[in-house]
């Protein structure tokens, strides 16, 4: 299963305090196959696997936040409700 976040540079959504990413690149070998190759390179001899795990958990938190914000807005905001004929 492909992780549906093909961000060429991971830096936006994860990253340690002091800019410890060097490079992250991803490529899809063939669009019909569910494969992605990701390359992550770190400064300061840090573990790229840890970086991947942190990135995934940040992405998970992001999804949770979006879900909650959406639910709050749906229940509490005033929005236009209209009748759509089909």
């Amino acid at each position: 299963m492909i992780m549906k976040n093909p961000k060429v540079e991971f830096c936006g959504y994860s990253g340690y305090r002091h800019l410890l990413f060097y490079l992250a690149r991803r490529s899809v070998p063939h669009p019909s196959e569910n494969h992605i190759n990701i390359r992550i390179q770190m400064y300061d001899n840090l573990s790229s696997l840890d970086c991947l795990l942190t990135a995934l958990s940040n992405l998970d938190d992001l999804c949770l936040s979006i879900g909650e914000a959406y639910k709050t807005s749906l229940t509490q905001d005033e929005y236009e409700k209209w009748d759509e004929k089909s």
């Binding site: 299963m1 492909i2 992780m3 549906k4 976040n5 093909p6 961000k7 540079e9 830096c11 936006g12 959504y13 994860s14 990253g15 340690y16 305090r17 800019l19 990413f21 569910n34 696997l49 840890d50 991947l52 795990l53 995934l56 958990s57 940040n58 992405l59 998970d60 938190d61 992001l62 999804c63 949770l64 936040s65 979006i66 879900g67 909650e68 914000a69 959406y70 639910k71 709050t72 807005s73 749906l74 509490q76 905001d77 005033e78 929005y79 236009e80 409700k81 209209w82 009748d83 759509e84 089909s86």
Partner: protein, 390 residues
């Protein structure tokens, strides 16, 4: 957490005018498309991901319009529903990256499961529509079966064969006859002239009668599947299974799901529009976006700016050169989701979030297994980790 009405809700928040968030729209090109808020792009500023800052505005108040944006910090998340009907929903998502918004859009189209007819067993088809063509049309008919109540078919195990937990069975039986009571050449010559989607009849299997609250049926009963004449008959048994849009578009739960970026029209104060051109200027934009006062003063209605279609008509006229800049806000996504099938439109987006999170969880499990593998040096020869069947 009750929403407090904010007096300035007729204006866009100040952060919307931050030039770093803008995509420039010019006559023949689009500039500044890529997002730049990641570490390293602006020296001295810290753009690392910070969940707390990301969530701050959300906890305060969802209707809050003017939130502070500190220099170099993460843009706050805001999700606001704008319109809702029985079939579609329009909502804003501000503060996420384009890749995330695109991911949700793609998941909505291709990976939220639905139930549609897959196997068609034809007993009798004497209509002019061939078996396979009719079967294809029947497969595209949207059903109102809640996918949570059914399981996927698998290659092995209990669900590899059809049973009442993974299949919904319909029967289609239509015979066309001549209407003996109608006048010759008048209307209503034939009985059952059309095979419509409303002719699909659900046959409960096993325990299905107690599981479904609403009887499974097509959402729209007026879809014409085939046309018949007297003596022609269609008799078939249809099996519907759970699938995803990736496999075939009939399993896509949305008519479509799309987003657009919020447009921004910025007037140049150094070059105001002359009075006699005011109405022509207003005509270049979608109705309601530009307000012309009685003296001919131009102003942009900020809350109506979202209705603009950014047709760039104003850039075609040389008399308006330099008077206005057209832009879009890079991380303000206006989603429009039209639901087709079992899900109510407000339920679709949370479903796509659920699918996204399950993908993250499966990758995370494999990555953690890899981490554990390297710790104990028990990985296979080339360090590969087998991910389980998705």
């Amino acid at each position: 957490m009750s929403p407090t009405a904010v007096a300035s809700s007729s204006h866009l928040p100040e952060s919307a005018y931050d030039p770093r968030r803008h995509v420039g729209v010019h006559a023949e090109l689009v500039s500044d498309v890529a997002s730049t808020d990641y570490p390293g792009h602006y020296p001295g500023e810290d753009h690392t991901w910070n969940l707390r800052q990301f969530n701050e505005a959300r906890r305060l108040c969802v209707l809050l319009v003017s939130f502070r944006k500190t220099e170099g910090s993460v843009q706050k998340l805001q999700v606001k529903v704008h319109r809702l009907s029985q079939r579609s929903i329009e909502f804003d998502m501000v503060g996420v990256d384009a890749s995330v918004a695109n991911a949700f859009r793609r998941i909505l189209i291709a990976e939220v499961p639905t139930i549609a007819i897959e196997h068609v067993y034809v007993w009798n088809n004497t209509s002019v529509v061939h078996d396979e063509v009719l079967a294809h049309r029947i497969g595209l008919v949207p059903l109102n079966v809640d996918p949570d109540l059914q399981e996927f078919r698998t290659t092995t195990g209990y669900h590899s064969t059809p049973n009442d937990r993974n299949t919904v069975v319909f029967k289609l039986n239509v015979v066309c006859e001549r209407n003996t009571k109608a006048a010759k050449g008048g209307p209503n010559q034939y009985i059952n002239e059309y095979v419509k989607s409303g002719d699909l009849v659900w046959e409960p299997q096993g325990e299905q009668r107690s599981i479904f609250e609403v009887d499974p049926a097509p959402t729209n009963k007026e879809i014409v599947l085939a046309k018949l004449r007297p003596g022609q008959e269609v008799e078939m048994e249809l099996h519907a299974i759970k699938g995803v849009g990736k496999e075939h578009a009939k399993w896509s739960p949305v008519a479509t799901a799309s987003y657009r970026l919020h447009p921004l029209i910025v007037l140049n104060p150094a070059k105001p529009i002359s009075r006699h051109l005011a109405h022509q200027f207003a005509g270049c934009f979608s109705p309601g976006v530009v307000k012309v006062s009685s003296e001919g003063e131009i102003s942009i209605d900020e809350r109506n700016m979202r209705k603009d279609s950014v047709s760039r008509e104003v850039l075609r006229h040389s008399e308006f050169d330099g008077c206005v800049e057209l832009k879009r806000i890079r991380d303000w996504f206006i989603f429009n989701i039209e639901s087709e099938g079992p899900y109510t439109p407000e339920r679709l987006f949370p479903e796509s979030i659920k699918v996204m999170r399950s993908k993250i969880a499966s990758i995370r499990k494999a990555a953690e297994a890899l981490l554990a593998g390297t710790d104990e040096e028990a990985a296979s020869a080339d360090g590969d980790v087998e991910m389980g069947a998705a």
